[in-house]
């Protein structure tokens, strides 16, 4: 265990080792984490929050609900296992926050929507159940954009929305903003998020933590409240690559409840972490440094360069890996990836609209209390009251672009461009191809964390926050965001790795090597402002 760090700031692998050997009790870990939450999180968000006050405006507000009593009971059960000489698992005693888009039996599972404000899940999602079986302790459910529709967590129906632990005036990113913020602030050691266009990696970049989107199908989606069913990937948010490896190990694998969960062997993700990067071919693509991006003022989509600090951090990561023996391959072409957001605007909306039709005020969720004429009137009023603006926007766009008279122009075309995007990645990862890459290295985001309110309301600019992340979802490939430094304003910069299908192990190995190479860098010793106030 790293003696200089308080328990809530210890990595998961150190906590688990200490709990398994009896050096530290799981109860002590959970109590320390609850004390951290008490110190930094502020009041719980709600659908009727009232005005914010100056004291709370500095707080993180990651958690929608806490399950403190159950967490302490679970900690005592783990400590009893240790006392009996039993092994409580590789994540024994590790505090876990769960994005509130996952069902966890007996907990409110809201999707950050009024629609599900009072919904209590009758069963537990597979990724969460597997982490619990490995010894992780679920502390509570964390905030997100409503139904995961957003990139800042501001669209949550539960306000105040989560704030960035590094600067409370800024967003934590989204949609897994509560996940990333809770891990950055030591309010959890591990979190589970979901990534449909970057919703794990973008908030991980904004909050200075590690976020892993596994290959589509590596982790079961059973028990996840669906957004875009061909794009959604559950994955871990942690403070180190080693912890991400441990978490993915527990979560991954086939699941009889999800036919899209792949029946492939799951490798040992921790075993290769220390092998270094010598001989690995890591690509840099000009298409991820010069981008098509909306002008914030006019909205015109035009070619532009990334901010120099973000380019510099990515280049510095490449140089560090090169010094460690990696071969950096420049000028890797990914010509179709600039269409990732327009394609996503179409495909994700069609899938979201389809998934949201189940919310009808009949089986679960909100039902209007207004006087109604008939069943259809009840649907319209219930959905009108229960959904916020982002779900409504997605439903309406999904209906439009998939309509019979428009589908070939929009939906079918987007699906075919998705094929071209997939082929870009197949080409550069092909072991017999011209580039033969083991990974691509890119920035994670076009900007660092933006100020609360600066983008919210502009649904196009908000969507483009995922520009550099979204293509991993179109292609299905794994991707990881890791901290790469800070900008002049003290906000974290994320650096991203893309990998070939099912090859999360190489991404974790590169990320772990980069952490080792930069362990003594001054920026690694910075702490979030939320922990110093």
């Amino acid at each position: 265990m790293t003696l200089s760090l308080p328990l809530p700031d210890q990595p998961a692998h150190a906590i688990a080792e200490s709990v398994r050997t009896g050096a530290v009790s799981a109860r002590a870990v959970v109590e320390a984490t609850l004390a951290r939450i008490d110190a930094v999180d502020g009041r719980r968000p709600s659908t009727s929050p009232g005005p914010d006050d100056p004291e709370n405006s500095r707080r993180v507000h990651a958690y929608i609900s806490l399950q403190a009593e159950q967490a302490l009971e679970r900690a005592d059960a783990i400590d009893a296992q240790v006392a009996r000489g039993e092994d409580p698992g590789p994540l024994a005693g590790v505090p876990l926050s769960v994005k509130d888009i996952f069902c966890v039996a007996g907990t409110p599972s809201t999707a950050a929507s009024r629609m599900l404000e009072h919904f209590v899940a009758p069963y537990t999602a597979t990724p969460i159940a597997r982490l619990q079986a490995a010894g992780a302790i679920a502390i509570g459910k964390v905030n997100l954009d409503e139904y995961a529709y957003g990139s800042s967590t501001e669209s949550s129906a539960f306000q105040p929305a989560t704030r960035n632990p590094w600067n409370a005036n800024c967003v934590p990113g989204g949609s897994s903003g509560g996940s990333a913020a809770s891990v950055a602030a030591g309010e959890a050691t591990l979190s589970v998020g979901t990534d449909t266009a970057g919703s794990i990696r973008q908030p991980a970049a904004f909050c200075g933590v590690v976020g892993l989107k596994p290959t589509y199908g590596r982790v079961s989606r059973y028990g996840l409240i669906a957004f875009g069913s061909s794009l959604d990937c559950p994955g871990p948010v942690t403070r180190t690559a080693r912890d991400a490896a441990l978490a993915l190990q527990a979560m991954a694998g086939a699941d009889p409840h999800d036919s899209t969960a792949a029946a492939l062997p799951v490798p040992d993700y921790s075993r290769g972490l220390d092998q270094g990067v010598r001989g690995l071919r890591i690509g840099l693509s000009p298409d991820y440094f010069r981008i098509r991006y909306p002008d914030p003022t006019t909205g015109e989509i035009r070619d532009t360069e990334l901010p120099p600090e973000i380019v510099a951090a990515t280049r510095a990561a490449a140089e560090a890996l090169a010094r460690a023996g990696a071969e950096i391959v420049e000028d890797v072409p990914l010509p179709n990836t600039s269409f990732g957001i327009p394609v996503y605007f179409v495909i994700s909306r069609v899938e979201a609209a389809s998934n949201l039709h189940r919310f009808d005020g009949v089986k679960y969720g909100h039902r209007t209390q207004q006087t109604i004429r008939d069943l259809r009137d009840m649907y319209r009023k219930s959905r009108g009251e229960g959904f916020g603006r982002q779900p409504k926007l997605r439903i309406l766009m999904g209906m439009y672009v998939s309509g019979a008279q428009y589908a070939s122009q929009y939906y079918q075309r987007a699906l075919r461009v998705r094929t071209l995007i997939r082929r870009d990645f197949e080409s550069v990862f092909d072991p017999q191809g011209a580039y033969r890459l083991n990974a691509l290295l890119t920035p994670t985001t076009p900007t660092t964390a933006f100020e609360i309110g600066a983008v919210y309301g502009n649904s196009v600019l908000m969507q483009y926050a995922d520009l550099l992340a979204v293509n991993a979802n179109h292609a299905g490939i794994p991707a990881l965001s890791m901290p790469g430094g800070f900008d002049a304003g003290g906000l974290p910069i994320g650096v991203q790795l893309f990998g070939a299908d099912w090859d999360e192990a190489t991404l974790l190995r590169i990320a772990h090597t980069f952490e080792t190479l930069t362990a003594d860098a001054a920026w690694r010793s910075r702490r979030p402002l939320a922990l110093t106030q």
Binding site: I301, P342, V346, Y364, M378, L396, M397, G476
Partner: protein, 105 residues
Amino acid sequence: MADTITPELFDYLVELAALELASDEAEYLRHQLNQQLTAIRELERIAVPDDIPAAAHGVPFTAAARPALRADEPVPSDLALALLSGSPDSDDGYFIVPEIQHQDL
């Protein structure tokens, strides 16, 4: 440029989507939809050869990755009551809904 999604088309979509909207909300949503279409029209900049198929997913579902279908056999579940308890209105194992008006098709 004239709005592609006119108020009339918007009202049609709202009806299809089974939503009831306040007027200020409707205007915001219609404006954002038109803004988003500007971004979607970026797709007109790319040549898509006729032989490019549509992709319903990214990673190929190979035989090795595809799980075997489970046997088509009923399995008892103890979740039924818990599921029904999440309904806004249920009785004796049934969901209760308002009267469904008869429509001549």
